[in-house]
């Protein structure tokens, strides 16, 4: 009777899913998110999925939280102090010395999370080789510690130059400060992110420091409430990388859980892909305000090693940066665009039709909600086109008004453009699809992958409605749609493992690298990983490792990640590692010179502690005909036919294993609608996944 609970807090809803590991049975809940105190929504959702007497059977509660990212976006962070090498007090002020917007005279540089008057310098200096040029002046260290105490800081970030190669001064400084300032949260750069490039490392250290008290209090509160309600088992938190960590570790390394929320969806997609034997998958999650895409290769979501956070963060994909606070921790490489059901259609001053990024959100909402919204949204367009049943939205909990949708489209788009309402609605969907195609292409084509070799897993409230058109456009042969598409992210929490990444900058030409030193670094990483995972209750036999090197051509300044096999590195492996680097460079950038020298920059190891996964039960077997699930037909507009077609409508929960639905068709789930285009078919797979393919 072992049970696991996943709780995913989103902008509008808090979702919980409980899985009985032995029977595979699940229970789900959707409750309103409580922004002023998210722990209220958290407990409400947990209590909804627990039956009487089941609380003591829970072995784990897994949580995806936006508490850290919200704290940064809203500026509700702890009062922090920053300590660095003499001469470098302004690392946080100067940043990258660039403007995040090229043509905006009124641009802003992000305001440092720790202001200049709480940035302190200590006399010390270490060289790039790790040699001490100026020893740590203990007197200046103590006066900084006293100043921090006087300033009544709650958290301290320590980042000294070249500490990734020689952390002695940082460690000594931390101990002096903790002596003088008992109870203060201290983050040391050589521990949280021992990688070169001081601004990004300092920024990562500062972020960790100033959110640490916030995250600490939040997790402590959840732990105490779970314990009050006698919910057994440990609390785990989803990291930005898609791995879990215990809340005890999360309290020390909160910088690792910033993108906790979006990660869960990508993890779910990789799990679903694996279940169906698809190891190369593109995850497509379209909700109310945004659409997120990520790619999964050989069962692993693609990772990025740094990104920006904050209210004006610049996405990784463009040619500008500097709008947010850089953070160098592993994160699932997601592309997020402002196209969701609530995205607003408008006409720019040159007469072109645009969709998003502004969203009507849940309030005032799309025009058809009749909750005050007057501007046409993607949902309004889908309603006009017959893709949504106005009386079965959210399983009928909410009635939509098609006339309000038509009027909004007519007034804001059709009349100014001189088109019919239907043409305009189709235009809105086509333009939204074009920007989603761009997102899908960013995570595939532009990362060097051919989308035709991938399957698409589509979820979120709006994903299944748009996915067929997107797959057709990109030539993706197979689309998979899970059940309860709106709860897929919560499911992702229950299908991942405990993971910790260890990294150390070690810059050296590959061909002459000190192999003993390399093996020693890996050995230390392994020991630390085993120790940490065992403290989190993972058994030794459930631990595995993934090792890699960050490499580049000697002289380059961007690195590529090269995975290397487990076991001791031998001199004969070096050329093989370089060959791998060349192949990755070739795939990523289209060229590689096999005679140029390469360089290792950082050494990485991910320690993975496997945890039990839920069982998923098969559906009852049916035959090809989906007649038992039929709800009749309705007229749905398809752009390829330039007209409305009569489409079969089916109830998702009544479909059986083996049923085949031929397009044009509509499959209605309580929280999402799947549109099947003419020329496509959907087969219901053994575990209830919808598998969409071209019919021929």
């Amino acid at each position: 009777m072992r049970k696991r609970i996943g709780v995913d807090i989103g902008g509008t809803f808090t979702d919980a899913i409980l899985v009985d590991l032995d029977t595979g049975s699940t229970k789900t809940a959707k409750v309103p998110t409580t922004p002023s105190d998210p722990s209220v929504g958290f407990m409400n959702s947990v209590l909804r999925v627990l039956d009487d007497g089941t609380a003591q059977d829970v072995i784990q509660t897994v949580h995806a939280t936006t508490i850290a990212t919200n704290a940064i976006i809203e500026g509700n962070v702890a009062k922090g102090g920053f300590v660095t090498t003499e001469g470098f007090r302004d690392i946080l002020e100067i940043q990258r010395q660039i403007r995040p917007k090229l043509y905006d005279i009124f641009f802003n540089k992000p305001k440092p999370l720790i202001p200049r008057h709480r940035a302190y310098e200590v006399k010390e200096r270490v060289t790039a080789e790790g040699d001490v040029l100026t020893p740590l002046d203990e007197k200046s260290a103590r006066s900084v510690a006293l100043a921090l105490k006087k300033a009544e800081v709650e958290a301290v970030a320590i980042c000294l130059l070249h500490s990734y190669v020689n952390p002695d001064h940082e460690r000594r400084l931390a101990s002096i400060i903790s002596e003088h300032c008992p109870g203060v949260f201290i983050t040391v750069s050589s521990e949280i992110s021992p990688q070169f490039r001081e601004y990004v490392r300092a920024s990562t250290t500062v972020i960790n420091a100033v959110i640490m008290p916030v995250v600490f209090r939040y997790l402590a509160k959840l732990e105490s409430q779970l314990s009050t309600r006698k919910v057994a088992g440990e609390l785990y938190v989803m990291q930005s990388s898609g791995g879990l960590m215990t809340s005890a570790v999360a309290k020390e390394k909160p910088a690792y859980l910033i993108e906790s929320g979006p990660a869960a969806g990508a993890i779910a997609a990789s799990y679903i892909g694996k279940m169906l034997g698809e190891h190369n998958v593109i995850s497509f999650d379209m909700g109310g305000t945004t659409a997120k895409a990520s790619s999964i290769e050989r069962g692993q979501p693609r990772m990025a090693r740094s990104y920006e956070v904050g209210p004006a963060a610049t996405p990784e994909t463009g040619l500008t940066k500097g709008g947010g606070y850089p953070l160098k921790t592993p994160v699932i490489d997601l592309v997020e665009i402002g196209a969701g059901g609530g995205s607003i259609a408008w006409i720019d001053s040159g007469g072109a039709l645009k969709v998003g990024p502004r969203s009507a959100g849940a309030s005032p909402g799309p025009a058809c909600y009749m909750t005050g919204g007057t501007e046409p949204t993607i949902t309004d367009a889908n309603l006009v086109l017959g893709r949504i049943d106005p009386s079965y939205f959210l399983g009928g909990e909410m009635k939509l008004n098609p006339e309000a949708a038509s009027n909004a489209i007519k007034e804001k788009c059709a009349t100014p453009l001189g088109y019919t309402i239907v043409e305009s609605a189709m235009g809105i969907v086509d333009i939204a699809n074009a920007s989603m195609l761009r997102a899908l292409s960013l995570v595939s084509v532009e990362r060097g992958y051919d989308p035709r070799e991938f399957s698409l897993v589509a979820f979120g409230g709006a994903g299944p409605m748009h996915v067929n058109a997107l797959a057709k456009e990109l030539g993706i042969p197979k689309v998979i749609i899970p059940h309860n598409p709106g709860l897929t992210s919560a499911l992702g929490l229950l299908v991942t493992d405990v993971k910790h990444e260890f990294v150390q900058t070690y810059v050296h030409q590959t061909s002459t690298i000190d192999i003993d030193r390399l093996n020693k670094i890996y050995e230390d990483f392994r020991n630390n990983a085993m120790k940490l995972l065992s403290s989190e209750g993972v058994r030794d036999e459930d631990v595995s490792f993934v090792r890699s090197l960050d490499m580049r051509y000697l002289g380059q300044s961007y690195e590529l990640l090269v995975e290397i096999p487990d076991g001791e590195v031998k001199p004969t492996d070096i050329r093989k590692i370089e060959e791998r680097f060349f192949a990755i460079h070739e795939r990523t950038y289209g060229h590689a010179v096999r005679t140029e020298p390469t360089q290792v920059v950082s050494v990485r190891l991910v320690g993975i502690g496997s945890i039990p996964k839920p069982r998923i039960n098969a559906l009852p077997r049916g035959n090809e005909s989906p007649i038992d699930a039929s709800k009749g037909t309705r007229n749905v507009y398809f752009s390829e036919a330039s007209s409305y077609l009569s489409a079969g409508v089916f109830e998702r929960t009544s479909l059986k294993w083996g049923n085949v639905v031929k397009g044009p068709a509509v499959i209605e789930d309580k929280d999402a609608t799947t549109i099947v285009h003419p020329g496509y078919r959907v087969e219901v797979e053994k575990y209830g996944y919808l598998v969409m393919t071209p019919s021929h």
Binding site: I94, Y103, L319
Partner: protein, 583 residues
Amino acid sequence: MEGQTVRRHDPIRFEVVRNALQAAVEESGVALARSAYSTNIKTRLDFSCAIFDKDLKVVVQAFSQPSHLGSLVFAVPSTVGVYGPAELRPGDGILVNDAHMNMSHLNDISLVSPLFYKDRLFGYSANLAHHVDIGGRAPGSIAVTTDIYQEGIILPGVKLVKKGEIDNDIYRLVAANVRGKKEFGGDIRAQVAANKLAQRRIVEIIDKFGVGFVETTIERLYEYTQRRTEAEMAKWPEGVYEAETFLDDDGVTARPIRIPIRLTIKGSHVEFDLTGAEAQRKAPMNSTYAQAYSSVVYSIKALLPSDIPVNHGFYQTVKLIAPKGTVVNCSHPAAVVGGWEVGIKVVEGCFRALAKAMPDRVAAEGKKTILHIAFGGVDPRSNESYVYLETLAGGYGGRPTKDGEDAVQAHHQNTENAPVEEMEIGYPVIIERYELVEDSDGPGEYRGGLGLRRVYRFRDHDATVTFLADTVKIPPHGMLGGMDGRPAEFSVLRNGKNKEILPSKVTFTASSRDSVEIRTPGGGGYGSPLDRDESAVLGDVIQGKISTTRAKDSYGVVIDITTLALDRDATAELRTRMRARGE
């Protein structure tokens, strides 16, 4: 009926094709940045990519440095003209850097390739990358030169790439002339790869939409851009607005250089006339027409909604008159390496003229120097020669609603700093300090940003150091009662004791016992400092950005030096007195 179908689906497919073209050029930009070697391209993102139609009109562009706004627009037609379109074959790539062929300076090397679709010429793809060294007198190819032959190897447009392969003879000839060959080779390969990628993407787009539709879309894109730009310009106040801008000196003589700007806004048309700019100098401070054009266009682009695309249609809306043989349109064989310094002065000059028309939409003067520093020598750790180049930020001018940001690049320059740790790993140098300069602000109701200070010491060898900058004599000016920012200062502390002030344009040797120090300018203030919110002044004092003395003398705000308490009564009294004195 057929025509009607096309019309009906136009705005939607227009948007889709336009996005696809933009994605193609951005993707080639990302490929260039990621696979290049030099920090100049990778970290500082000093490069540009563009796609042109077969009539040599620019369709889409991607760059992070707005100084590249005009850089390929003129260069690509000149370069194609060297061979003529009939002589170009699929897979060709023409290498060019000759500043006097409508380019900017020799370090900017462009690669221009024809784009073919099924054996038919469709257009051109081009990219430009700032190479860290192209030969010439000093490491980094920046120096106080008097003609272009001293500035490095000149590439007049040669087919480096044929049938997609690099011609090794030409490559070796060029590589023999540059310092830092590894970086040069890596960067050139990245440029070749970027053009190949653009060719692939264009074929995919045409395969999908058809050549006719893509070409129609491009024409529509020009019209759309021009229509939107002109609609904005029509809202601007008509009139003739005059301003002037100066460089401190030309690096060879101490004579300042004057550039007058006459802006005419009439209906939906904008014209900048630089007639009266001084004759070109036998010195490095000359700009080509393309550079001056980038500057002018930047000032306009900064006043337009950011989503208006930049293409041929946009360039039709801005007219620049710059007489030949002057510092803003120099003739062969003028030296051009300091042309960017002329360029940023022209941007400031244009903003001064625009400020007269629209004072609430323009900032006070910023650092107004590009501020290059280059150094090189033999790395004692490897015994190999090295060269390093960077540019430093300064204060941004105060703005109509807010302060100028501290330590940030201004206007058409937006190059990132190299991390100190990365520099120290790669080059034999120690950065001793990198910090804001207190009290360097131009006081104002909205103050100018602070400049920064960077101190270099070379490890165990003598390095050849060059500065190519300006704004040490004439400070960044404030506007509407705002005061000037502190100008730049260049110096070297010899043997830890004798401080020598250096000119802003100089090449010299520094030993491992010397510290080279640069202080960059602060931005000018906007509005009277006596109108500045006193709590904002207090905030600056608490943060250590300005001293209590400056708070009192420049802002009329009295703050106790030990308690940092604001004395409101004393402040009110002092400000009244200062106003009465007309400060």
